[in-house]
């Protein structure tokens, strides 16, 4: 006797209770605090802030804790929260020239005004597991410090610009479109493409960028400059009539200098790719700059070679991991109805094939007799 499946509600409640238990893990092991995640899983926090499009390290840390370390799930929690927040207004554009740089490197010049600052990077660590960390020992020794240099750190691309060697990037005060408040419309202008890339999945943007390096839309990128540090956010307060600083955020900015031999419309000169991402997220920022440059083929008069990274509709439609994971994972939801209709169709087609074969067989036999 068949009993229709009931109790979906109880199953959901019980599943949630089990999930909460699994999230906590062994209760004899001390619970993680938000501060611990924020301070010691900083790069995970940064990724969640960047792709969640919300700069709040504490909320990002909370999301990571709630998501059991699944960063895409954490990004989703932040996005769903962010979309409910009222918009108080717009800040002024942040000024990265005034960044207090923790790291600033150029791959195009050995030395330059403002200097090369290696900063807290994995770049030259030897990737040997450090078993001392497993022992939960003493805090590391203080790193040597030098006094911060006063004044702005000029952008490398500015030096090239003086000789006219790199394409102009004139200031533009047009308010950028807002992907989170307007549906994505194609073709998308550069501001919108950059916005989509900034919140796009790190893995996806990385692979797209990598594909350009391997020849699918190659654009010969040099890291003109990569800088990481805090910038102040200023907002115009109408009641005051001037802008005040409302806080600091850490950003990673990457400007690539790309070789360009000229096209029908543009003279030979270097061209630009740009990446700007919340937090210390340099893999993402470099990737973003490469993909940005690849997507600019049309405005620079280059040929479309059919490379995926050149195809704005392809890149922008598939960069968002919350959309991607939702649609991918939804196929585990019930599809009984559609599957049933396919079953009926396949059975019918097979029946007809069998009938035809049988009819052919019979007529052959009759012909033989």
């Amino acid at each position: 006797m068949y009993v229709a499946v009931k109790g979906g509600e109880r199953a959901i409640d019980n599943a949630h209770a089990w999930l909460a238990e699994e999230r906590r893990g062994d209760p004899s092991v001390p619970e993680l605090s938000i501060a611990q995640i924020r301070e010691q899983m900083t790069l995970a926090v940064n990724r969640v802030m960047a792709e969640g499009s919300l700069y709040d390290p504490d909320l990002a840390a909370l999301a990571i804790k709630q998501a059991r370390g699944d960063l895409i799930e954490a990004i989703f929690l932040i996005r769903a929260y962010r979309t409910t927040l009222p918009r108080l207004g717009n800040s002024r554009p942040v000024e990265t020239t005034a960044m207090a740089c923790d790291r600033r490197i150029s791959a195009t010049f050995k030395d330059l005004p403002g200097g090369q600052i290696l900063g807290p990077t994995f770049d030259y660590t030897h990737r040997l597991l450090d078993f001392k960390l497993a022992a939960e020992g003493e805090p590391p020794q203080d790193a040597p410090q030098r006094p911060p240099e006063a004044g702005d750190v000029p952008h490398v691309t500015g030096f090239l610009n003086r000789e006219g060697l790199i394409e102009e990037a004139p200031a533009d005060d047009t308010p950028p479109p807002d992907l989170t408040r307007e549906p994505l419309e194609l073709p998308a202008e550069r501001a919108l493409r950059l916005q989509a890339l900034a919140r796009g999945d790190e893995g996806f943007v990385l692979s797209m960028a990598y594909s350009t390096q391997r020849g699918y839309g190659r654009n010969h990128a040099f890291v003109g400059e990569l800088r990481i540090g805090a910038v102040s956010v200023e907002m115009d307060i109408p009641e005051l009539g001037f802008a005040i600083e409302i806080g600091d955020i850490t950003l990673t900015e990457c400007e690539t200098v790309n070789q360009f031999t000229g096209s029908k419309t543009e003279p030979p000169q270097f061209t630009r790719g740009y990446g700007l991402v919340f937090g210390q997220t340099e893999r993402k920022a470099i990737s973003m700059a490469l993909v940005d440059r690849a997507l600019r083929w049309e405005e620079l008069g280059e040929d479309f070679t059919g490379a995926p990274a050149q195809d704005a509709e392809f890149v922008l439609s598939h960069a968002d991991n919350i959309q991607a994971t939702g649609f991918l994972e939804h196929i585990k939801l019930p599809h009984y109805v559609d599957f049933q209709s396919e079953l009926e169709l396949v059975r019918k087609l097979r029946r007809e094939v069998a009938e035809r074969a049988e009819a052919a067989n019979t007529s052959r036999q009759e012909a033989a007799e």
Partner: protein
């Protein structure tokens, strides 16, 4: 989440206004896909965020809300969405098709004929009927505006020449008032005849794809076909094992590992109502 922390039916009023404008535009141009600024919802894309946003925009405190998934009120996602609105909107909920003023559905149209004043909200994964023939949105929008549907007819024709039938069993394309070709969402083609001349308002929400489209009451909806290969609504050739219905869409349920199976109504409300009236199928207790 404290329920008071959010607006009625979760979305803020500005967002609802934006969605209502898209719905009104959709109703004014039946079958046309209206882009809208879909929000991130507290459930994943693919779980019905489009339908949920449309429901949130049309629900009023006086509404009585029903949610079905695969025709059933008790599938986990239907339970989850119903609870979401019970919590955030405090509306009355029901499983009875006739008692509901707003019905959100995934993959089915209820068997019971809908009536004037009701709203049926469909969850839509891929709103573009031409998508699997042409992946680019920029191209398909052009094809719709030029009413260039030759590609779709060629596809259906190729199906017939290859298989003897149109090999589309669900999400079967329809033409609205002789103009737009529309994806009716992944309902089985058995449900297609219920789309036309329907007294209820039919709204379609695709959250991830940021599209809303609509059918006002009594819209003419024609399933695409050929004169010599007319459209045919199909179902499993059995009566329901529980209520004996021969006019309902059936789920096939595997009952043992020796090939045993039974067929039961996918619309649980319809099946239960029939059983309450004393109808019995061969597998009923």
């Amino acid at each position: 989440m404290t329920d008071q922390a959010y607006n009625f039916a979760y979305l803020d009023e500005q967002t609802k206004r934006m969605i209502r404008r898209a719905i009104l535009k959709g109703l004014a141009i039946p079958g046309y896909q209206v882009p809208f600024a879909s929000r991130e919802m507290p459930m994943p894309y693919g779980w019905g965020t489009g339908g949920v946003q449309v429901s949130a925009a049309v629900l009023t405190p006086e509404d009585r809300f029903k949610v079905i998934d695969q025709g059933a009120d008790d599938t986990t996602n239907a339970v989850s969405i119903r609870n979401f609105f019970r919590r955030t909107a405090g509306v009355e909920v029901t499983t009875e098709t006739t008692a509901a003023s707003v019905i959100q559905t995934r993959h089915r149209i209820p068997e019971t004929t809908l009536k004037e004043g009701q709203i049926l909200v469909y969850q839509v994964p891929i709103p573009e009927p031409l998508r699997f023939l042409e992946p680019r949105e920029t191209e398909t929008r052009k094809m719709h505006s030029l009413e260039e549907y030759g590609l779709m007819h060629v596809k259906l024709y190729e199906d017939i020449s290859r298989h003897g039938h149109i090999a589309t069993a669900y999400a079967y394309p329809v033409k609205i008032e002789g103009r737009y070709v529309m994806d009716p969402s992944p309902i089985p083609k058995f449900d297609n005849p219920k789309l036309t001349d329907c007294p209820a308002i039919q709204l379609f929400g695709a959250g991830r794809e940021q599209r809303i489209y609509a059918l006002p009451p009594y819209t003419t909806v024609v399933s695409l076909d050929f004169e010599d290969h007319p459209f045919e609504a199909s179902r499993a050739d059995h009566p329901c094992g529980l209520c004996g219905a021969t006019d309902s869409y059936l789920d096939e349920v595997i009952t043992d590992d020796a090939g045993g199976r039974m067929f039961v109504c996918s619309d649980t409300d319809y099946c239960e109502a029939r059983q309450a009236q004393g109808h019995r199928g061969k597998d009923a207790a």
